[in-house]
Symmetry: C2
Subunit: 333 residues, 2 copies
């Protein structure tokens, strides 16, 4: 039992909580017996969903009546103080009683309360928000997705090292190729900050990853590189544009395929293949964002995901801790 | 005949030129008798493709042996001087002998040679590169797509006015709704430049368009707004990310649909619907970018498009001139 990874879970964030959160924990436990869950929130509600479904030696409930609302500003959430489920879950990693913290709640509040409680990793100037993103060959890590609107070349260098460490923790058997998101592939393209970062990465002795130069937006998903680095403004626009494009295309496809009787019949015939397609693009597979740069990684599940999406995020938590993310960052910084 | 719109065509740019260019002109003429083509390039080659296929009172050839190569840097292209087909075509609008200029050649060279030859519209500080983009309800205009990496709030205000005028020229029957591309919809989000632009647009008396505030990347294609304004770095990343996502999804779909015999048969049954889907997303429909802010609009066709794509760009040229784009910009600036 001493080998279990201890995950601090804010049970009160996101839609349909705590039921979704608890169902996600139970679902996760079915395929992975390596986690111990420290669950923060309303004990009565949590007990109602968990009792008899998860062996009691795999979890502990920490009761609190207070929680951060999705409508709270980060400042309001921080002012609510130290008895919200979110704050207490973060406090648990601060006190080293848990290895990692996850919440499906208010993103701004989570970032601010994490920064208030957790120290930065030495020599990292700013933490970054990263996410998994599908590509033709598997998955990529993309960062920053909005935590830092303005970035220096030192920040982008830090993000490269942290992104590479995150990828290596999640996919230890793969080669890690890092690229900077730019508007052209030639060395002269882009703004001054990007060009400086290119030089910093080019001149740095890299052990754990390769630097692959620049990529453009249209290459984000072709799988040639698997860690993509950007300032938070550009990264956020890119991620959301990709989401919007995916929604647009699948809705156009649905319109076209069900336009007439033949279309409906043949789509029905092809249901297995269509389901395979849907599964490949299922947003629950890529659920969640990882806030890195602090003494402990902080995982943000999408508030609107279901228990399967939340369970996938718990899997990410497990792999991050098992992959020694924080040590990997420290070794490379 | 005096009513014909005069289009200066650089016949030597892009893949498979001048054949593709001339075939595009001939194709365009079939559905629209309102254009007169001033064609710049190698007369013998052009004659070979055009003779007997387009009535001689609809075109005139201006011979030159020289052309800009796709591999030329903008500086090299400019140094080649005044006898390239690209330069001469631009010169033709400068001398007011043509209403608009189109090229499928080297983008950087086209922008630089246009700026060298054509004056700015009064009170516009920088020209911008714009493009058409599909959305759930029709089309949007998006700018800037990479001509200006760093932008001030005055630049973004100019882009808003120019983009609105472009949309109104192309779609005179529609309402024009302008939004700024940002990383959140609240007034406080984004960098200083975007927040300043928001205030400028909010306080300005607008006649020809509505200001709809901020939109995020995932709303780019939902059709609530139809003019989307951004600095050139962010806009370029967004456009290319959308392209890359569309390619990724359609290739995943193709893989899934043809994985087995049933899939192939049912896709065959559904070929009409699949073709409708492909047609809706056909990049030839959105071919080309429009460089606006100079005394004449400059249209850049994609170098890799075919004659149908080029013909669609000629249609855009026609509608821009007929819609009095330049006057519309001057009235609003």
């Amino acid at each position: 039992m001493s080998e279990l990874i201890k995950i601090a879970v804010d049970a009160m964030g996101g839609d349909n909580s705590p039921q979704k959160i608890i169902d996600g924990i139970i679902h996760n436990h079915k395929s992975n017996k390596g986690n111990f869950f420290k669950i923060f929130g309303n004990e009565i509600e949590i007990e109602k969903h968990i009792k008899g479904k998860l062996p009691t030696n795999y979890y502990e409930i920490f009761h609190t009546d207070e929680k951060v609302q999705s409508t709270d500003s980060p400042l309001e959430a921080a002012k609510k103080g130290k008895n919200t489920s979110m704050w207490l879950a973060i406090k648990s990693v601060k006190k080293k009683e848990s290895d990692i913290i996850i919440s499906a709640g208010n993103t701004g509040a989570l970032l601010v309360i994490s920064k208030l409680n957790l120290k930065m990793i030495e020599n990292i100037d700013k933490p970054a928000l990263s996410a998994l993103w599908p590509n033709k060959k598997g998955m990529s890590v993309v960062l920053d997705l909005g935590a830092n609107i303005e970035c220096s070349s030192k920040n982008l260098l830090d993000f490269s090292i942290m992104g590479a460490a995150l990828y290596k923790s999640l996919y230890p058997e793969k080669n890690t190729n890092v690229a900077l998101l730019n508007i052209g592939s030639e060395e002269l393209k882009g703004n001054e900050t990007i060009k400086e970062t290119y030089q910093l990465l080019n001149n740095k002795e890299l052990n754990d990853f390769n630097f692959a130069g620049y990529i453009e937006g249209n290459e984000l998903m072709d799988g040639k590189v698997n860690v993509i680095v950007s300032d938070g403004f550009t990264g956020n626009v890119a991620l959301k544009t990709a989401e919007g494009t995916a929604n647009f295309i699948t809705s156009e496809l649905k319109n076209a395929m069900t336009k007439n009787f033949i279309g409906k019949i043949s789509s029905l015939l092809n249901i297995q293949n269509l389901n395979r397609f849907k599964k490949r693009l299922d947003p629950r597979l890529y659920n969640g964002a990882i806030f890195i740069g602090l003494a402990s990684p902080v995982v943000k599940s999408h508030g609107g995901t279901d228990y399967i999406g939340f369970s996938n995020s718990l899997d990410v938590c497990h792999r991050i801790v098992k992959g020694n993310l924080i040590d990997k960052i420290k070794q490379n910084i």
